[in-house]
Symmetry: C4
Subunit: 221 residues, 4 copies
């Protein structure tokens, strides 16, 4: 029995270090986005023309803000998911790694869409790649949710299977919306990015609107 | 009641992971600043002229130092604020995300001001953008303070409402000063950056001058 | 005796901060890889040609994916190794630093191989450098394993010396395979990168296939 | 008294978050160094000439290795210092910030020295700037040591004042050596970087040679 226990410890580990590593990747991906806000070269800006040169870069700011919000919200959700998790096993570690792959790759389609947002027909391809990355993120998040909730022994507390499946259906709906934005990309790249912005803001306010739970009372058991 | 409790845990989480994620963003933003210190291209520097080529880049060093100090001080204040916080809820998570947005964007206006500090009329625009970022940081910090102190149940310990409002008034005063630096930007960019340097140093020494509190005694209860 | 104890504390420290620092380096190295996915310059892409310009960059995506997987798996293994470790001493700190040197350097050979994968005879040199980095990582990991398991007092629990030596033999075998990929580099760079991809996937699935251990029971002692 | 206690908590905080933030800065600075290892442009390398193009970049690898080792050793020492620290106050926070300023700036002089190591008279200026950064790091580390040990109430355990002053003298000696390397810079840049490499290796092996302390026994009190 003590041998069994020692094997358990080798395979199931506390979730703390997964969270620390994930926090690192989220923090770096969200901060690296700023490297793609380019300072206009001084010798290409007419004196007094810095303002309009900067205004001309609006696609960069727009894509930056949307991607920042998306990573931020995914982090908030990841944080909430793992506040329920006690132990992780290898399928959880690898499902988490798949999510981190998408998160850490996001600066690339962001840069791509910023560069090509107003580039005629190429804008469609850039928007479709951006939307596909969002779909991949939604799918990876759903897989991670399945990996975490498939085994009640990994969790701090009982998660209602009905509630868990309802959450999964909600994620599934989100993934269908992301799939639709891939289609929308071939209509209008700017509309596509606007929809991603709207989705991100919707998720923010939706979550802020969650009815304020009473905090655990300290005095009364 | 146990159902209620499980909802509570889902919405209110310990502040540890928010701090870890924020530390990551602060650490990356403060370290990315160094990427904007450019090494003069070897084929554009006359032999023996490296010293003067480097000296010529003083705006980069100046902007680097001020932004490093500002992020460092914000981190110290964030650290102090959250040493009083026990639990966080979603409004705190999103208010913190807004502060991190400004912190992680700071390398961009820093680079911009470094490039245009001596560029005639464009310097005014660059300085105004830099000052606006500082104002945004001050406002985001004030909002985070309100989010954290609005509910005494999030804190480790009782925070005096009078002291809390006094702190908020002090932040408000700081924000008015930041607002004034936007105006100053249109007079002189170099003076504006100097004022930001002076403000940062003032905050450093002000905080160092806080009367040394007695440390908790171990032996005596 | 209390003097002895105080010296112990100075030399042996809990493994937590080594893990935090390592997590930071792993997270940054794995996320910096994305900086080498280049957005094709807009003025060099014919209208409508973005798709083919991106497809043309397949060596970058291939090298990105393989290096991401490799760092991810090394992190999972590092995580598993240190879940058994309680205390670290200086040889462990420096063996870990050697591993981190290889991990943090990996973006360079990745970029190199992505650039030269289809470059005729230069591809061989690039692939050999990439393979050598993998060998260095395998050797550094083996040395860290030896440093950690050489002294049972550093571990949380008893690690069977037989199992420990078996693990070392398994790592040794992996290192011989990495050595062989250096030879393969001079035959085909693409085949070499494919083998590294296959090895990474093999390690993923091998680890996922580990028989699921029973989790520690809570109710029954 | 409870009011007093609440003030104490505001000013003295546990050292954990300072360590986490510092780990982040150390990890990022040490990993950003790799960005300065440039991949030779494919159109500037004759077919078959990649090997010699890479060999030509030896100053980059040399400077990379020395700076990696230096940051690594500083991290090991920082780790050891703070394993003795229980609480931090504002002077410690700001002394630590000064050290982090030097650490996070180090990629700049590293890049500079790599670029100018073989550039005739400009190499002297680059080496002097690199050596000055090392001196600044040594001084900042000494100041942090003074800040931490000035008040026995910040420490986990009693640190012998005699041992503490001996350590400070040892750091002082190191700083004199760093000062001497500034002089050496004007004789030979390559010799200067070699001395920094030798110093780093000396510190590694010196620390590895520390007599192995007995680990705390678990069974016997």
């Amino acid at each position: 029995m003590s041998q069994q226990r020692s094997d358990d410890v080798a395979v199931l580990t506390p979730s703390g270090r997964l969270e620390a590593f994930s926090d690192g990747v989220f923090a770096i991906a969200i901060t690296l986005l700023v490297l793609d806000l380019a300072v206009p070269a001084r010798d290409q800006v007419r004196t007094g023309g810095l303002g309009s040169a900067l205004a001309h870069q609006w696609p960069s700011y727009f894509a930056y803000l949307v991607s920042f919000l998306v990573i931020g919200i995914i982090w908030v959700n990841h944080h909430t998911m793992f506040s329920k998790v006690n132990l992780v096993d290898r399928p959880v570690l690898f499902a988490n790694l798949a999510l981190l792959l998408v998160v850490s790759a996001l600066p690339f389609p962001t840069r791509l869409l910023a560069e090509y947002l107003t580039a005629g027909s190429d804008a469609h391809a850039a928007a479709a790649i951006y939307s596909s990355t969002m779909l991949a993120m939604g799918l990876a998040y759903s897989v991670l949710w399945i990996a975490v909730t498939r085994d009640v022994g990994l969790l701090h507390e009982h998660v209602d299977p009905v509630a868990s499946r309802a959450a999964l259906r909600r994620f599934g709906l989100g993934n269908i919306v992301y799939l639709a934005t891939i289609g929308l990309s071939f209509v209008s790249a700017i509309a596509t990015l606007s929809v991603h912005a709207a989705l991100a803001l919707y998720y923010c306010f939706d979550q802020l609107a969650t009815p304020r739970a009473k905090r655990p009372r300290r005095s009364a058991g």
